[in-house]
Symmetry: C2
Subunit: 446 residues, 2 copies
C-alpha cells in the first residue's frame, strides 16, 4: 500500500493534507488530492513532491471511480451525504475508506460486505465525532479499571474563536461548515438526567443553556446536542443515569441566537420568492405583523422577540446587519441560506485570527463510598485563519490513523469507529505530540 487519495480539500482538510504529505515523503508514498476547486487544492498541496492535485466533480461516478481505482486507501472529506457513493466504489474496487463523519446506519449496513472484501472502513475519526469518543472512552476505561462506577457523563465540544481574536458582540467566528452553524440543534434534543429521559425542542434549546467552567478561560454556555442516548452503548454506559453531549459557545451567544430562532430566521424548509431584491430589514420585518402603531421595527423586535438581556441582544442583532437596508442578493433563498450568507461575511476569521477548540468531559463516579467528579478539558488554539485548531483536530486523527493502517499496524476489517484501545491509543498518543493535551481536575463530591 503506497497510494492515498483524499477527496475534498475544504476548510477541514488543511492539516490532514499537510500531515499526509509529510508521511508520504517519509515513507515514499504518494498523495492525490481530488477537489472541484483546483486552486484551493493546489494551495493546500503547495507543490509538495509527494502530492498531486486532480480536478474532480465528486458527483460524477466515472471520474470518481477512476481515481479510487488508482489508490490503495481513500479518505472522503466530502459532505456526509456523498460518503455512501464513495463507499460503494471502495467495495467494488477493493479499497479501504476513512472519514471524519458520523457512520450512518446505511454505512453500518455495509459491514458484512466490507468484511467479505477484506476491507477496513473507519468513520468518526475527526474531532466531534472522533477525539470526543477517543478521549472519553479512554477515561471511562481508566475509571472502570480502577473499580469506579460511573453515575454521570457530560461531554461538550465547541469550535470557537480565541479570546485574542474575538472582536464581535456574538463572540463567534466560523471555523467549520457555516451551513451547520445555522442548522445546529434543529429537531428535538434528548438526553438522560438523573435516570429520566429528557426532551428539549429547538425553540427552547438556546433559551435553556447551562454554564460550564473552563480553567483559565472562565464560563462558557452549553446546550445539548441531538440524541445523547445513542452514545450509551458506544461508551459502555448502558445503565448510567445522566448522559449529556452538548455544544459549547462563548457567554452571550445563546440568548441572541435564541432570538434568531424565535424570529424564524434559521428555517431551511422553505424558499422566499425574489429574496435577492429584498433588504435584510425587509426580510426581518416579514417576521413581524404589520405595525399597528408608530413603533419602529427595532422596538417591535425588542418587545415581541427578545426575552432576556434585551439591550445586549438587540445590539447583537443590529451588529449582524438585520436592520440594514442592504439587499440580500441571493435569489429564492431559504431563511437559513440568507442567514448563512450574512454570517459568512460577519463571522469570518480574518487572515491572522486564531480559532479555538474547547472540549470538556465531566465524569461523576463512585469509588468505594466516595463520589468523585473528574473534569477533563482540552483547549487548543489555531495559528491563523488557515491553520486552524479545528482543521488540526479534525484532520490529524484521520491522518494518524490512516498512516497506522498504511504501516500495517491495524488490520481489523469491517465498518468501525475508534472506540477500542487498539484504535484510540496510537491516535491519542501521537495527538499528544502535536500539543493536544487534556487538563484534568478531580473534586470529591458530598
Amino acid at each position: 500500500m503506497n497510494r492515498i487519495l483524499v477527496i475534498g480539500a475544504g476548510r477541514s482538510a488543511t492539516s490532514l493534507i499537510k500531515y499526509l504529505l509529510e508521511a508520504c515523503a517519509k515513507h515514499r508514498w504518494t498523495l492525490t488530492v481530488a477537489e472541484a476547486d483546483i486552486e484551493l487544492a493546489q494551495k493546500k498541496v503547495g507543490g509538495h513532491t509527494a502530492g498531486k492535485v486532480v480536478k474532480l466533480d465528486a458527483a460524477q461516478p466515472g471520474d470518481r471511480r477512476r481515481l479510487v481505482s488508482d489508490a490503495d486507501v481513500v479518505i472522503s472529506m466530502l459532505p456526509p451525504g456523498l460518503h455512501h457513493e464513495v463507499a460503494l466504489d471502495c467495495i467494488a474496487l477493493g479499497k479501504h475508506l476513512f472519514t471524519a463523519s458520523y457512520v450512518s446506519p446505511q454505512m453500518y449496513a455495509l459491514d458484512e460486505e466490507v468484511q467479505r472484501a477484506g476491507l477496513i472502513f473507519v468513520g468518526e475519526l475527526g474531532l466531534d465525532p472522533g477525539i470526543d469518543h477517543m478521549s472519553a472512552i479512554e477515561k471511562i476505561h481508566e475509571i472502570k479499571a480502577l473499580g469506579g462506577h460511573l453515575t454521570a457523563f457530560r461531554s461538550y465540544t465547541g469550535g470557537l474563536v480565541a479570546p485574542e481574536s474575538d472582536d464581535n458582540p456574538w463572540h463567534y467566528k466560523i471555523s467549520w461548515n457555516p451551513r451547520n452553524v445555522v442548522l445546529a440543534g434543529q429537531g428535538t434534543a434528548r438526553y438522560l438526567e438523573q435516570g429520566s429521559l429528557k426532551f428539549l425542542p429547538y425553540h427552547r434549546l438556546f433559551d435553556s443553556y447551562r454554564l460550564i467552567d473552563v480553567p483559565g478561560y472562565g464560563k462558557f454556555e452549553t446546550y445539548p446536542n441531538r440524541d445523547s442516548l445513542q452514545y450509551r452503548s458506544i461508551y459502555e454506559l448502558d445503565d448510567i443515569p445522566t448522559l449529556i453531549r452538548g455544544t459549547i459557545r462563548h457567554r452571550g451567544f445563546c440568548d441572541a441566537w435564541h432570538a434568531l430562532v424565535m424570529l424564524g430566521l434559521t428555517d431551511a424548509t422553505y424558499q422566499i420568492p425574489a429574496s435577492a431584491n429584498w433588504t435584510y430589514r425587509q426580510w426581518l420585518a416579514s417576521y413581524l405583523p404589520a405595525a399597528a402603531s408608530a413603533l419602529s421595527l427595532e422596538d417591535r423586535v425588542a418587545r415581541v422577540i427578545v426575552r432576556k438581556r434585551v439591550v445586549q441582544v438587540m445590539h447583537q442583532l443590529r451588529w449582524l446587519g438585520l436592520f440594514d437596508d442592504t439587499p440580500i442578493g441571493i435569489p429564492n433563498a431559504s431563511p437559513a441560506q440568507i442567514l448563512e450568507g450574512l454570517l459568512l461575511r460577519k463571522w469570518s476569521l480574518r487572515p491572522t485570527d486564531k480559532d479555538m477548540v474547547v472540549m470538556q468531559h465531566q465524569f461523576e463516579y463512585e469509588l468505594g463510598a466516595q463520589r468523585h467528579l473528574l473534569t477533563s478539558t482540552l483547549v487548543m488554539r489555531g495559528h491563523d485563519a488557515d491553520a486552524t485548531a479545528m482543521s488540526a483536530l479534525v484532520g490529524l486523527p484521520l491522518g494518524i490513523f490512516v498512516r497506522h493502517v498504511m504501516l500495517g499496524h491495524f488490520r481489523k476489517t469491517g465498518v468501525r469507529i475508534p472506540v477500542t484501545p487498539d484504535m484510540y491509543r496510537p491516535v491519542l498518543a501521537e495527538l499528544h505530540d502535536f500539543g493536544m493535551e487534556f487538563f484534568e481536575k478531580t473534586k470529591l463530591l458530598p
Copy 2:
C-alpha cells in the same frame, strides 16, 4: 347514471350519506357505502332501502376497483393521502370523482387524462376547503360587479363547540379529525399584510392570535393558516395588499395551546420508547430539565413555559390531565399521538352536545372615493354529537354538487374546484335551504 359509491363513512360523512339516501330514494338511484368499520357504516345508512353497505379496506386495490367499477360516481371520504389511488382507479374505469379535500398538485396533474376520458373530478367541495371558497368568491364577484376595488380580504373558519355545550376550560371539543387538531399550524404560516409578505413560525403562531367579533357571540381568537398566498389567484385577487386565511378558536384557547407547543407536546416527528408505561406526569416532566431546587413540576412548568394568563393556562393544563399519574397506554407513541389520545377523551362531544361552525369573511374595498368593510359571518350549530354542523357543512355541498352532476346539470370535464358561478351558485342556493345563512354587516371606513 344512477349508482353512487361513497368510500369512507367517518365523522364527516354522516350528513353526506343522509342527503344522498334521500336523493337516491327520490331519483331511484342507489348508494353504496364502503367502509372498513362495517357497523359504523350500517349505523349511518340505517337500513335505508336505497343504501347498501360493503366492507372495504381501501388500501386493497382489487376490492376497491371492483366497487368503483360497479358505480357511476365515486365520492372519496378517505384520508387525503388515499385520494390519488382512487383517482387512478376512476380514470381507468371511467368514473367521476368528488372529494371534500384539497386538490393536490398530483391530482391537478391528472387534468388532461381526466378530460380525455370525459370525466368530472371535483375537490374542495366541503367546508374549508369548500364553502369558504364558494361564499367568498360569490361575494368577491359581487363587489367587483359593483365596481369595487378590493384592498383586503381576511377569511376565518373554525369547527368549535356551541356555547351551551361548552363545559371545559379550553372551550373546545373535537368535531373533526383529531389528528389534525393536534397538528394544526405546524410549519410556517405566510400571509400578505399591507403589501408585504409575512411569515409566522409555528412556535409563535398561537402566541400571535388576533381577535374577531362574531355578532351575537362576542370575540373569538384567530391565527393564520399555512399559506394564504396560494389563494390569491384562485380568488382573482392577484394585486390585493392584504390576504389572510385563518382558523377560529374560542377566547382562551390559543394561550394554552401555545404552552403545549412550547413544551414540545405536539411534535409528530419522533417516537418515545416504551411510552405505554409512562404516566402523563412523567411525560410532561421529560420536557423540563431535572429540578435543581425543590420546585414542584407545576411550578417549573408555570415559570419556564407559561408566559401569559399563567393561572388560567395552568388550570387548562391541569384539567387536561398532563400532571396526572395516569399511564399513557400507547406504546412507542409520538408526542402528537399521546396528546391526541388524551384530547380524544377530554374533548369528546357528549351525545347531546352541539358543535358550532363559525366562518367569517372580511372584505375591504374602495367604491369611488369611499372605503368599505363588509363582514360576512356564518354561524351554524349542530343537533347533537352525531348530526354535527361540521358534518353538515362538509357533507352537504358535496352531496348537492354530486346530485347536480347526476342530474346532468354540470358537464365540464377535468380536475376542478368550485370557484365558478356555475359551480358555486346551485350549491350555495341549496345550502341556504338547509339553513346555512351568512349574516352581513357593512361599515364605512375613514
